[in-house]
Amino acid sequence: MSACSSKSNASGGGSGSKASAATSAADLGGMDALVAAAKKEGALNVIALPPDWANYGGLISGFKAKYPGITVNSANPDGSSADEVNAIKSLKGQTRAPDVVDVGQSFAISGVADGLYAPYKVATWSAIPDTLKASDGSWVNDYGGYISIGCDGAKVASCPTTLAALNNPAYKGKVALNGDPLKANAAFSAVWAASLAKGGSLDDIQPGIDFFGQLAKAGIYKPVQASAATIESGETPIVLDWDYLNAAKTTDVNGKGGKWTVAVPSDAQFPAYYAQAISKYAPHPAAARLWEEYLYSVEGQNGWLKGGARPAEMTAMTSAATIDKTLAAALPAVSGTPTFPSDAQTTKAKTTLTAKWAAAVG
C-alpha cells in the first residue's frame, strides 16, 4: 500500500503500485484498504463527463461527499469517446492523465484491442448481466437508454410517437438529431432505429438512411445540433436522442414555457449502453477503482437512474428492491423486446453510413 503515492508514479502511471494491478477490492485487502489507498492518492481524474449527462454532476458531488479527501478533476466535459481514448494515449505517464473513461461501446472494444484498459471487477460484479460486461472486467457497461422522441407540445400541435410518423409536412423544419450521425452515437443510433421502423434490420441500416433522405428533401429534417437552447427558441422542437438526454431537457424547456414530452417510439426500440473502463496508465489507480465501486453501488446506480438513464444493475436491483421505485417508474415506457446489435453489425452499419449519409441528406 505504501507504494501508492501519486508522486512516485510520474513515469509509470502507477504501474508497479499494488493498486494498479488489483482486479478487485479483495486484491488490496478489502474495501477499507481500497478507500485508504485512494485517500492517500487524494485525487481522481475523470474526462468527458458533462454534469447534465445521466446525472454525472450529481454522481461526482456524491462521490466527493462520501470521500472528502479525494479531489475530482473533471477534464474536457464535452469531449467525445475519441477524445477520451486519445487522452489515455497522449497523456500516458502524466499526473493529469485520465484515470477512468466512460466510452461508447465501439471504443470499449477498440480500447481493449489497443491494450489501454486495466481489468477490474467491482464488488457487485455478479449483479451485472453477462451481456453487459467483458468477461475479464476490462470494460463494463454502466448505463443505457433507448432512442426517444423528445417533443415540445407548446410548438408542435401533435407530438409524434412513432418514427414513421415524422414524415409529415406538419413537422417541416422541426426534426433534429443531437449531432452528426458520423460523430454522435445517439444520432447514429437514431438513424438505425429509423431503419428498424422502416423495414430494415440490425443487418441493414440503409432504410434508415433513405428515410432521413426523404425527411431532408421534404425539409423536415433540420441539420442543426439540438440543445435545450434550440428547443426553447423553437428552432428544433422535435429531437431524436437517448431518452435520458431528452429527459434531462425537461426542466430547462418547461421552465421557459414549453411542454416537453419524451416517448420511446413504438415502432422501434433501439437501446445502447455506454461502458466504464479504468485506464491501464491511471495516475491514481486506487481512486479509479474506488470510483468504479461507487458507480456500481446502490447509490451510484440510482444516481444514473436519477438522470433518466437505465443502470446496468437495474434488473438485479429491482429483484433486490434496492432500486429507487419512483425514479424507475418515471422512465419512458418501452413496448416490445429490444435487441442489441453485434460488433460486426455495428461495423457494417458504420461503413454503410459513412459511404451513404452525406449523399442521401445533402
Binding site: S81, A82, F107, P223, V224, E235
Partner: protein, 329 residues
C-alpha cells in the same frame, strides 16, 4: 518612400534569405575571387541568418513537424485483424475515392464560389471606401474589417441562426409583417450549401477589404491625371493602367480567400451537421467522435490532400504579391 515600403522590403528580404539559400551560396561562389568581398558576404549572410533563427525554429516546430507527421501517418495503415501497422498507399487511395473524393470536389467548389463572390464584392467595397473623402470612415472600416475577418466559427453560425434560422428574428418579422416565408417564398435555407456560402461571405468580404485596400491606395492619383491628360477615358485608365497594376494583387487576394474558405470548418459544422460533405468536416469526423474508430490515418491522408492543394496556391500567392509590390510601393 511611403510608410509601407520598409516593411515590404523587409518581407521581401525575409523571403529571399529564408527560402533561397542554395541560390545565395551559388552567388557567393561566383564572387569568390576577391577574398575581402567573400568574407564580407559571408558575414553579411551570417548576421541576418542568426536573426532569423527563432523564425526558422518556429517554422520547423509548428509547420514542418506537423506536416511531416501528417505525411508519415497518411502512409501508415493499421491492419484491423492483426493490429500491426505498416506502410501503405491505401489511405491515400481511399481519400481520393467515393465519398471522400466527392467531399474534396465539394470543398473546392464551395471555396471557389465563395472566394469569387467575396473578391468581387470586397473589391467594390474597398474601392468605394478608398475613393471616399472621409478619413474617419476609412479608419472605421479598416478596424471593423480586421475584426469581422476574424469573426467566424460557432458564434457566427449561431448569430445567423438567431437572425435567419427557422425561428430567427428576421424570419419571424418577414413572416408576421409581410407573410413571406424565407424558406418557401425566398428559397433561402440557412442549413444548406447556399446558407453556408452566405455565412462564409460574412468573414471573407472583410478579409478581402483588408488585403486589397493597401493595393488600391497604392494607385497614385498622378497616374490617373497623366492618363487623362493624354486623352484616356476612365475605362481606358482602368483597362490599361490600374487594372494591370492591380491584377497580381487581385489574383493573390482571391487565392488567399480560396485557401481561407477551403479550411474553414466550425461554421459549416454547426450549420449542416454532417449533411454537407466537405473535407475539413470529414477530418473532424474521423479523428474526434463517438462513432467511428481507427480512422486517424485516413484523416491524415485527407489532411495531406488539402496540403497538396493549398501549398502551390500559397506559393503562387507569394509570387503574385511580390509582383504586385513592384508597382505599389
Amino acid at each position: 518612400m511611403t510608410s509601407s515600403s520598409p516593411s515590404a522590403a523587409v518581407s521581401a528580404a525575409t523571403v529571399s534569405t529564408g527560402t533561397a539559400d542554395p541560390a545565395g551560396n551559388a552567388e557567393q561562389n561566383e564572387h569568390a575571387v576577391a577574398p575581402a568581398g567573400r568574407s564580407r558576404s559571408r558575414a553579411a549572410w551570417l548576421v541576418p541568418g542568426l536573426g532569423l533563427a527563432p523564425f526558422v525554429i518556429y517554422l520547423a516546430l509548428f509547420f514542418g513537424l506537423p506536416v511531416a507527421l501528417i505525411a508519415f501517418n497518411a502512409f501508415r495503415r493499421k491492419d484491423p485483424a492483426s493490429g500491426m501497422t505498416s506502410f501503405s498507399l491505401q489511405n491515400i487511395d481511399d481519400s481520393l475515392h467515393g465519398v471522400y473524393r466527392a467531399a474534396l470536389v465539394h470543398s473546392i467548389q464551395l471555396a471557389a464560389v465563395t472566394a469569387f463572390a467575396s473578391t468581387i464584392l470586397g473589391l467594390l467595397l474597398a474601392y468605394a471606401i478608398s475613393s471616399g473623402r472621409s478619413g474617419l470612415l476609412k479608419q472605421l472600416t479598416a478596424t471593423s474589417a480586421a475584426v469581422l475577418a476574424n469573426f467566424g466559427g460557432l458564434p457566427l453560425a449561431f448569430l445567423f441562426v438567431a437572425v435567419v434560422g427557422g425561428a430567427g428574428v428576421l424570419t419571424k418579422i418577414l413572416q408576421s409583417t409581410f407573410g413571406l416565408s424565407l424558406q418557401d417564398d425566398l428559397h433561402f435555407n440557412l442549413f444548406s450549401l447556399t446558407g453556408v456560402e452566405v455565412v462564409y461571405l460574412y468573414f471573407l468580404i472583410p478579409l478581402m477589404v483588408l488585403v486589397i485596400t493597401p493595393a488600391l491606395e497604392g494607385l497614385r492619383p498622378q497616374w490617373r491625371e497623366a492618363a487623362e491628360n493624354l486623352g484616356a477615358t476612365g475605362w481606358q485608365y482602368w483597362r490599361l493602367v490600374a487594372g494591370p497594376v492591380l491584377l497580381p494583387n487581385l489574383l493573390g487576394s482571391a487565392l488567399l480567400l480560396f485557401c481561407s474558405s477551403l479550411s474553414a470548418f466550425a461554421t459549416a459544422s454547426a450549420l449542416t451537421n454532417g449533411t454537407l460533405a466537405i473535407t475539413p468536416l470529414q477530418i473532424d469526423t474521423a479523428v474526434s467522435g463517438n462513432v467511428l474508430t481507427g480512422q486517424e490515418n485516413l484523416a491524415a491522408a485527407l489532411a495531406l490532400d488539402m496540403i497538396v492543394i493549398v501549398v502551390p496556391l500559397t506559393l503562387i500567392y507569394q509570387y503574385l504579391q511580390r509582383r504586385g509590390a513592384r508597382w505599389l510601393r
